[in-house]
Symmetry: C2
Subunit: 346 residues, 2 copies
């Protein structure tokens, strides 16, 4: 079956997705009977392509790789590169699936939330790796999707393409998840790992993380725990049906942790990790983000470097922990594909 797909945003994640769709074309068709036709792309910086017959992916990736814009697409027919606001693109395209891949605004969830709602109103499935709408408007959007018989899928919002929501939906279906505890930010885990294994102080480890591209020039969202906070709120609301707001969750990052703290913990047989934790108890959902000293026997204690991991506490299977990449162009691109494949399976 062929799926017509429209992309809002074509930065790292969008290009990662396009690359996979091209490289894995034969595999996806032969294995799953899945074919993708990219019929629309709109990107704030790179412009618009509205091509009902389907874009030539290598040609578009080549353009973008060279820093050019979508208006330079050599095969465009007249009008196909005319600039369009995403809201207008959603209206004009016949895509059945919209991949919303713009940047996260964790305060309002906009403009992504508006794009998503419009797509659902017009009968299109939505997949996204954008944490804003999922952290702030999950219940409303999910309900809107349900009423329209559509899917709103968000695998990439937590741990990139490492399966979390798929795991709960599929391999663990039938379990009640009662508690989750995870390392959901790779930058801080990288910093803590370097502080422990190479004796760096916080500043040196942060500088290395920045040099290696794990941390932004302004590292606040990572090191103060706000990125992990958004993710634990998403997990709480999806897995426990909660309506937590980020402002209701206590959040402490790692910027106050010293080399001496890390060394003292190590000497006592513990390891510092930035832990995001959520629990449903007596119908109340509670979450917190904070640095924790874990005993080395904790499955999360062994998670080193930029990897992420999540332990799910379930009623039938006890503790199940999944560990994998938490970010990356291909990894987050894959998260979008995995959600599209889930729609394909239905």
């Amino acid at each position: 079956m062929e799926h017509k797909i429209g992309l809002i945003g074509c930065g790292t994640v969008g290009q990662g997705l396009l690359g996979i769709l091209h490289d894995k074309k034969d595999h996806l068709r032969d294995r799953f009977g899945f074919e993708a036709r990219i019929v629309a792309i709109t990107d704030k910086i790179r412009g618009t392509l509205l091509v009902p017959e389907g874009i030539d992916i290598p040609a578009v990736l080549d353009l973008l790789g060279k820093g050019k814009n979508l208006s330079d697409y050599p095969k465009a027919a007249p009008g196909q590169t005319e600039p369009l606001d995403p809201l207008d693109m959603i209206e004009k395209t016949d895509a059945g699936i919209i991949a919303e891949l713009t940047y996260t605004d964790i305060t309002t969830g906009e403009p992504a939330a508006s794009y998503i709602k419009k797509a659902l109103r017009l009968g299109k499935h939505v997949v996204t790796s954008n944490k804003g709408p999922a952290a702030l408007h999950y219940k409303e959007i999910r309900e809107m999707a349900r009423q329209n018989g559509l899917q709103f899928r968000i695998e990439g919002t937590v741990m990139s393409g490492t399966p979390v929501f798929h795991l709960v939906e599929c391999g663990l279906a039938g379990n009640d998840v009662r508690e989750v505890k995870g390392i959901l930010n790779g930058t801080t885990n990288f910093i803590l790992t370097k502080m422990e294994t190479e004796g760096m102080d916080y500043g040196a480890a942060l500088a290395l993380a920045q040099k290696m591209g794990y941390a932004e020039a302004d590292p606040t969202a990572d090191v103060e725990g706000f990125d992990a906070l958004a993710k634990i709120v998403i997990l709480s609301n999806v897995l426990f049906g909660g309506t937590l707001k980020t402002s209701e969750v206590p959040c402490k990052g790692i910027s106050a942790i010293t080399k001496a703290d890390v060394e003292a913990a190590k000497a006592a047989g513990f390891r510092y990790k930035l832990i995001a934790h959520a629990k449903k108890e007596d119908g109340v959902v509670k979450a917190i983000v904070s640095p924790q000293k874990l005993p080395l026997s904790d499955p999360l204690a062994g998670v080193m470097g930029a990897h992420n991991a999540l332990t799910l506490e379930t009623d039938l299977m006890g503790k199940v922990t999944i560990q994998g990449a938490g970010a990356g162009k291909t990894e987050t691109g894959f998260s979008i594909l995995s959600d599209i494949l889930a729609i394909h399976r239905c």
Copy 2:
């Protein structure tokens, strides 16, 4: 939708499954529209029940819990408890799904393999936690299922209900799995953990494992690596399309590992684990089971006690590791449910 299910074998796993089906009845119906009717049970020791209208699960669990036989089932109509060979039960029942839950014979895979083939020939899906048929006859049985448009599912053969095959099929769909490396036997991991963390020698740790019910009176299958061997052969054949035989895979257990070995490894920053490893390279599938000294940065090094874990090396997502229970009544019972739910979803 209601599924009619027949059980061959009603020991620990079968009773685990029945318990879950009863306890989770409402959850499964409300959440997935899934209902189960157990229409047949045949057990070598406990006898037979052939009840087309569906058995009363609590009544059967009560009987078995008291050491009674299925012939004591109070609600049986005439003829419903007449002893039946599993092959005859398969013929007489109108179950659409057969759960094959007899003990593993790793030399022949029989009689389970014959039960499974007969069920498939008669148009019934098969789910099993029995390692024998999966390790020895996977390709043939899988092909037979495919030709008949049926499913042959084996989640419980590796890591009990901790999702491995579901993970590959669902959350990681689209990836090529190139290599797997795992701790697939809980008994040996428990022994190695005790040797390292409590300074026990091998004999004392084994005795403790036996006392706690992790190891059998004859621990050979666990400690010499044969259990892990069967599992890595299953993984090789399912994930890499191999046709490996257990006799072709080098296998070394942990019985020769001394306290001094474990301590020397620890002092050098390593940890002994019994590792099952398989890889496809240039079209050739190779596997091995052997004790390995892992650096503590390896995701498998942190897996302590009786837990199991598997690292999948994939082309898109890099390394993904899942850790969880590797055995247990509820956990293996759940593996059967998870396979039945997968059939339900189709």
